[in-house]
Symmetry: C2
Subunit: 338 residues, 2 copies
DNA sequence: ATGATTGCATAAAACGTTTTACGACTCTAA
DNA sequence: TTAGAGTCGTAAAACGTTTTATGCAATCAT
């Protein structure tokens, strides 16, 4: 049997010579037991290696101390397709580690809307959903079921939904563009992703705003997040076909690496003729030659914020949001003009 | 409340005008109900959006349809440290997607041996543990609790433990070395990782065997898996200090990329003077110039094998093992001599 | 001496299922 | 008629907790 080693609350009670109520109270710090009895019961429980059965407890209490994580890129992962951004790949691990520190389990749920739904799915205390997009069906389903959830990134088209956290995208975009400006570039090309999430939308919006402020014409090249370095090269070739740019801002480190390779292959020097930067750091940005300036996102910080917000939501029924964390710009050789 | 929308088996029974037993039997295909009654009950259940409470069911049946995954690199991920091999990062996602297809949830458990243990941890039906090492404490704990588990990679020093799956490492090592040989290299340098897992051990063993067969002296450079491309460069410099090699075999794609950069920086041409290959593919191997020959591991295949083995173990108490999947060599420009 | 208060412990109900055992019919065969 | 065999359905126990309500002493105030 997977469940327990057979040692139940009854075993502890018998061994300690008390009722099962006493054991429950002693172990949970409730009721009106004498300190002496409490101590004795705890000792016996330890000795027997007793652990309260999670299901029995969950059934009685209505909550289980476990939360679900809907990881968006999992669909793509089904057949091991690489995805674009460092953050996606590590987020499960990060959330999990942080959740543990708060005494919560986390369960990965690939897609809540496709059946068969995993047995535990609707018994989670709450959910974190990653990068929700417009009309997100998972968010809708959770709402219908009355299961609390928070999101990594806002839900586009749902300004009323406040329980989300993310990096401060407009701030990051602004800082990156200003960084280009400082380095001497006035016209910037944007290589954007294709997902309709807040990340892409916010950056594009800030980029357009900045362009109109500068009086320059926006040049946006869309490229699927999933296409990786090869997609970056392709985008780079498209850009070159329209003229050598002063600066290129890519949403992912992989795209940036690819664009850089395409430019260099065409004899364009980086950072001599063209500056390059990425809106999300990844090992590709770090290990390219020259190394590519990038924004280092803060998934650990966001994970903390999300968990905290979810815990508030579970405990009190509401929570403050949204919560923004500040990412940090990592200037590297790709934007350094000596 | 997170738990359900309040609709229980009793509600369904009342609405359908039958007993709760009838509902349970109808929905689980048991008992001796007429087809007509079954259909009616199912219709009502659908209409009400009834979902059996996972805890109540788990409590009664003793199993829950959920398995735990102990992901080894999670400790390192706590503060977002990059790790060496593609496979590690994606394995959670892959297992999760595959598990879903089999109707199982998967719960990430960072470290079973460190308290507080997540509430659900000991209620899982079984576990998959990743890359166990010698004297693995997690394996020991699960054994003590009588919880079935399978491992991705064998447990070094435990030949009696058979419930594991992995790529066929010795075969991969042999094929890679033969590939070098075909391309004209007789002396091969090995850049090994530092973890004491089966992966490193098996490769080293096969490498040594091959060297003695060829009558050449093994040259092994150890480099931590966590050091990434920078570590690869460092290893490359160490190698060069000992002389320009005919061929370099790296355990990770990142190391290979770094070694290649170090060689190129020193004016050594790849593949002209030195061949390079990696024992595990990663985007770094794919996107380096020249692209680096690598072994494409098969984590999806292993995940399937592991889940199947675990299901056998849960159902019958034993399972056949170990199970080896064949990885595929991806020849690329870094070993191509025209 | 009596009634009220306090301190400690417990009995029993409840959570929502699944399962076992049994009951009430209807039909067939003698 | 009645025994035996099927057919369809249900009552009740059980899973392992937590919680509510209650009980029993001993102590206290009158």
């Amino acid at each position: 049997m997977a469940r327990g080693q057979g040692v139940t609350i009854r075993d502890v009670a018998r061994r300690a010579g008390v009722s099962i109520t006493a054991v429950s109270h002693a172990l949970n710090g409730k009721g009106t037991l004498s300190e002496e009895t409490r101590a004795r019961v705890k000792a016996v429980a330890d000795e027997l290696g007793y652990q309260a059965d999670a299901f029995a407890r969950g059934m009685r209490q209505g909550s289980i101390g476990a939360i679900g994580l809907v990881l968006r890129s999992l669909d793509a992962l089904g057949d091991y397709t690489p995805v674009g951004v460092d953050v996606f790949e590590r987020f499960a691990g990060i959330v999990s580690a942080r959740a543990l520190a708060k005494g919560l389990s986390i369960t990965l749920v690939p897609d809540l809307t496709r059946s068969p739904v995993p047995p535990l799915a609707f018994s989670m205390d709450g959910y974190i959903i990653m990068s929700p997009h417009e009309e997100d069906p998972v968010a809708a389903l959770l709402e219908r079921r009355g299961i609390p959830y928070v999101a990594y990134g806002n839900i586009p088209g749902r300004p009323d939904f406040i329980h989300w956290a993310s990096e401060d995208d407009p701030y990051a975009a602004h800082q990156l563009l200003t960084h280009f400006q400082m380095a001497g570039a006035r016209e910037v090309v944007l290589v954007s992703g294709t997902d309709t999430n807040a990340w892409n939308k916010d950056f594009q919006a800030e980029y357009r705003r900045w362009c109109s402020e500068q009086g320059t014409t926006p040049r946006i090249y869309e490229q699927s997040e999933r296409s990786g370095v090869d997609g970056g090269r392709e985008a780079g070739e498209r850009i070159l076909a329209d003229g050598v740019p002063e600066a290129v801002l890519c949403m992912t480190g992989r795209h940036a690496a690819g664009v850089q390779q395409a430019l260099q292959a065409a004899g364009v020097s980086v950072p001599g003729q063209t500056l390059i930067a990425a809106a999300s750091d990844s090992e590709h940005a770090r290990s390219s030659r020259p190394a590519i300036t990038a924004f280092e996102l803060n998934p650990a910080g966001c994970a903390d914020q999300l968990l905290e917000m979810l815990q508030d939501l579970l405990a009190t029924g509401n929570a403050q949001g949204p919560r923004l964390t500040k990412a940090r710009l990592r200037p590297r050789a790709s934007t350094r003009r000596d």
